[in-house]
C-alpha cells in the first residue's frame, strides 16, 4: 500500500471514478491543464480527456447550476469550487435547487452531484481563502456534508460521495492536503457517509473534531496523554447526517467533551453538537461541554492567523477545564 497525502488520495479517488464510471465528469475553474490550484485534479484531463475534465469560466453559480442540470440527466458531476470563500455566489443554487429538486419533484428528478471545496485556514492565504463556513452548508436541508481529515477517509469518502444518490458537499482541509500522510489501498473502496470515526479510545474526556482541526485534536490528545489524561478522539467525518449515536455513547461514558471547530463561533457546527449532546446525555455531563472555535471575526490574514485558528494549546486548556470542573 502506498503512503500518500490527502491530495494524492483525492486524486486517486477521482481517477478511479473517471475510469470506472462513464457518467462521472469533473468541472471547475482550472481543473484541466493546471490540475486545479491545489493540483487535486492533476493529470486527470490528460488521462480522461477535456470532455470529462472541464475547465469552466469564472462563475461559481454557473458551475453548480450546470452540474445540477448534468446530474438530472444521469451524469455524476464532480464540481470543484476553488476555495470555500468563493462558494457563496453558488449558495443560491445549492440551497434553492440542488438540495431540493428531489423533494420538489417527489423523487422524479434527482441531483447526484458532488461539490468539492477546499476550506479552512492556516496557510497564510489572502482574505476569503481561509473560510470555514461549513455550518451554513450543514444548515441546508437536502445536502450531505462530508469533511475528511486523513488520506484513507479522503479517498473512501470521496468515492462514497460520488456514488451517493444525493448531493454531497465534500470539504477538503487545505492545510492538511500535503501534511497528513498514511498508507492506503490503491484499489477502490468506500468509507460510508454518516459514520463518525473513533480514532482513539479514552475514558476521561471526549475530543470531537473534523477536517483540518483533527491534527490539532490529535496533538492535544497526545499532550493530554502525557499528563495522564485518556482522551477519546472522535473525527466526525460527516456533519450531515451527524452520527449522534457515536457521540452520545462516548460522552455518556466520559462525561466530558470538547468540540473543536475552526468556523466562527456563533451558530457554528459545534453548537449543534453541544445541543445534541445535552439533549441526549445531559445527565452524564460532569462539566460544561467546551467549544474551541474560531471567533466571530473575519479570519485574520497571515500575520494574525494564530489568534484565530484553534490550536492544540486551546484544546488542551479546554479539556483541562472539563476535568477540573
Amino acid at each position: 500500500m502506498p503512503e500518500v497525502t490527502i491530495a494524492q488520495a483525492l486524486n486517486m479517488a477521482l481517477d478511479e471514478a473517471l475510469a470506472t464510471d462513464p457518467t462521472v465528469l469533473i468541472l471547475g475553474e482550472d481543473v484541466g491543464a493546471t490540475g486545479g490550484v491545489f493540483r487535486i485534479t492533476d493529470g486527470l484531463q490528460h488521462r480522461h480527456g477535456a470532455e470529462r475534465v472541464v475547465d469552466t469560466p469564472v462563475a461559481e453559480s454557473g458551475i453548480v447550476g450546470a452540474a445540477f442540470g448534468l446530474a438530472i440527466t444521469g451524469m455524476r458531476p464532480v464540481a470543484e469550487i476553488q476555495f470555500l470563500g468563493f462558494a457563496y455566489p453558488a449558495y443560491d443554487q445549492l440551497v434553492s435547487h440542488v438540495s431540493r429538486i428531489r423533494n420538489r419533484s417527489r423523487h422524479r428528478f434527482t441531483a447526484p452531484l458532488v461539490v468539492r471545496i477546499p476550506y479552512g485556514g492556516g496557510i497564510g492565504a489572502a482574505e476569503h481563502h481561509s473560510e470555514s463556513s461549513e455550518a451554513i452548508l450543514a444548515h441546508t436541508p437536502g445536502l450531505k456534508v462530508v469533511v475528511a481529515s486523513r488520506p484513507y477517509d479522503a479517498k473512501g469518502l470521496l468515492a462514497a460521495a460520488i456514488a451517493d444518490p444525493d448531493p454531497v458537499i465534500f470539504l477538503e482541509p487545505i492545510r492538511s492536503y500535503r501534511a497528513v500522510k498514511e498508507e492506503i489501498p490503491d484499489q477502490p473502496y468506500l468509507v460510508p457517509i454518516g459514520e463518525a470515526g473513533i480514532e482513539r479510545e479514552g475514558s476521561d474526556v471526549t475530543l470531537v473534531g473534523y477536517g483540518a482541526a483533527m491534527r490539532d485534536v490529535r496533538r492535544a490528545a497526545d499532550r493530554l496523554a502525557e499528563g495522564g489524561v485518556a482522551a477519546e478522539v472522535i473525527d466526525l467525518r460527516t456533519l450531515v447526517p451527524l452520527d449522534a449515536a457515536t457521540l452520545v455513547s462516548s460522552v455518556t461514558k466520559t462525561g466530558r467533551a470538547v468540540i473543536v471547530q475552526e468556523g466562527h463561533r456563533t451558530a457554528g457546527f459545534a453548537a449543534e453538537v453541544v445541543a445534541r449532546l445535552q439533549e441526549d446525555a445531559l445527565y452524564s455531563l460532569l462539566a460544561p461541554i467546551e467549544r474551541v472555535t474560531g471567533w466571530d471575526t473575519v479570519v485574520p490574514l497571515r500575520r494574525g492567523e494564530q489568534h484565530y485558528i484553534p490550536d492544540a494549546d486551546r484544546i488542551v486548556a479546554a479539556a483541562r477545564r472539563t476535568l477540573e470542573a
Binding site: 453559480s61 442540470g69 443554487q93 417527489r106 444525493d166
Partner: protein, 350 residues
C-alpha cells in the same frame, strides 16, 4: 439587431409570410391556446374562492408559450416558471400536477415518467443554467435532446441569466432561451429593467444569436423557435429568443396593477390578443366556426374541471410527505426528527 419584432400573422388575422405550419397543426395549437386560457381563468377563479394559493395568470402570453413549446419533441427538456403553465402542459406536464402545485402540495412537482419537464421555477433567474446542464448532459450521453427554458424580462437582470447564457455559448449546448418580455416584472416596466434597446440584444455579449419576435404571433414564435431548436439539435448551439408580449392580468392574484400602470396600456394589448389573431386567420381559411369553438371549450374545460376535482380529492399530505423526499433513503437525523415530532404531537394530544 432588427428593431421591429418578427411577425408573420398580423393582429387582423392576415399573414405577411408563409406560416410555418399547416391548418391542422394551427387548429391543434389554437386549441391548446384555448385550453391554456381556460386553465388560466379557472385558476384565477379558484384562487378567489381560496381554493388555490396565490396564482400568476398568463393571459396574453399563450402564443409565446404554445408556439415555442410546440416545436419540441416529447423527450426534450423544459425548464419554465410559475407563469408558463401552457408551455409545460403542452410538453406533457398534466393539469393535475399544475393545479396540485397551486393548491400548495409538493406532489404537483412530480412529472409523469417520460415527461422531461422540471417543476416550475419559483425563484427568478436561477433555473436557466439548469437548461444548460441538461442539454450538456444529454449530449455527453449521446442523445440529441434539446432543453428549452422560459423566463421573463425581469429574470434577465439576475446574474444567473448571464452565467447561463455564457455557459451555453461557451459549451455550445442545445439550449433555447425563451424570454417572454411581457412588459413588466411585477411593477417594474421593461424600460427600467434594462436600457438595452431589446432583450434580444443581450445575445451579442455572448456571441449567441438573438431573435426578436412578436410573442403574440403564434406563427412567428413557432418559426423562430423551430429554427432555434433545429440549430440546437444539430449541435450548432444555443439561441436567445425575445418574445415581445404582454401580461394582461395582474402579476399574481395578490397584485394590484392599478398601482403602477394605466389601464389604457393593458387595453391596447388586449386588442392584440394572441388567440383572437389565430381565430381570425382560421376563420378566413374556413377552419373555424363558433360550433367548433364551443366544442373545444367544452372538451378542454371538462379536462380542467376533472383535474381540479382530482387535485382536491387527494388526501392531505402527512408527515412522511415532509420527510421522505429529502434523500433517496431517509437518514438517521430525519428519523430522529420524526420521533421528536411524534413525541410532541403525542404529548400535545394527551
Amino acid at each position: 439587431m432588427p428593431r421591429e419584432p418578427l411577425q408573420i400573422l398580423a393582429p387582423d388575422g392576415t399573414i405577411t409570410a408563409e406560416p410555418p405550419i399547416g391548418i391542422d397543426e394551427t387548429r391543434r395549437l389554437y386549441r391548446a391556446m384555448v385550453a391554456g386560457r381556460l386553465y388560466d381563468r379557472k385558476c384565477t377563479a379558484l384562487q378567489k374562492q381560496g381554493r388555490l394559493a396565490t396564482y400568476a395568470p398568463f393571459q396574453g402570453q399563450e402564443a409565446a408559450q404554445i408556439g415555442a413549446a410546440a416545436v419540441l419533441r416529447p423527450e426534450d427538456w423544459m425548464v419554465a416558471t410559475y407563469r408558463d403553465a401552457a408551455a409545460m402542459w403542452l410538453q406533457g406536464y398534466p393539469w393535475l400536477n399544475l393545479i396540485l402545485g397551486r393548491t400548495g402540495d409538493e406532489r404537483g412537482g412530480q412529472a409523469p415518467d417520460g415527461v422531461n419537464v422540471l417543476p416550475p421555477s419559483i425563484t427568478v433567474g436561477a433555473h436557466m443554467i439548469h437548461a444548460v446542464g441538461l442539454a450538456w448532459g444529454e449530449r455527453l450521453q449521446g442523445r440529441d435532446r434539446v432543453a428549452m427554458t422560459f423566463f421573463g424580462d425581469g429574470a434577465t437582470s439576475e446574474g444567473d441569466f448571464h452565467e447561463a447564457m455564457n455557459f451555453a455559448a461557451v459549451y455550445g449546448t442545445a439550449t433555447v432561451f425563451i424570454c417572454q418580455n411581457n412588459g413588466w416584472a411585477i411593477s417594474l416596466p421593461r424600460e427600467r429593467q434594462t436600457v438595452a434597446e431589446t432583450i434580444a440584444d443581450k445575445a451579442v455579449g455572448y456571441g449567441m444569436p438573438g431573435e426578436y419576435v412578436d410573442g403574440n404571433d403564434l406563427f412567428a414564435m413557432y418559426a423562430v423557435a423551430a429554427a432555434a431548436v433545429d440549430r440546437a439539435r444539430r449541435g450548432e448551439g444555443p439561441t436567445l429568443i425575445e418574445a415581445l408580449t404582454y401580461r394582461v392580468g395582474p402579476h399574481t392574484t395578490a397584485d394590484d396593477p392599478g398601482r403602477y400602470r394605466n389601464q389604457a396600456e393593458a387595453d391596447a394589448w388586449a386588442a392584440r390578443d394572441p388567440l383572437e389573431r389565430v381565430r381570425r386567420y382560421l376563420e378566413k381559411e374556413g377552419a373555424w366556426d363558433a360550433a367548433w369553438q364551443e366544442a373545444i371549450e367544452a372538451d378542454e374545460g371538462d379536462l380542467i374541471e376533472a383535474a381540479v376535482a382530482e387535485a382536491e380529492a387527494i388526501a392531505e399530505p402527512g408527515v412522511a410527505d415532509v420527510f421522505d423526499f429529502m434523500f433517496a433513503d431517509r437518514p438517521s437525523h430525519l428519523d430522529h426528527q420524526i420521533e421528536l415530532l411524534q413525541r410532541d404531537r403525542g404529548a400535545g394530544r394527551a
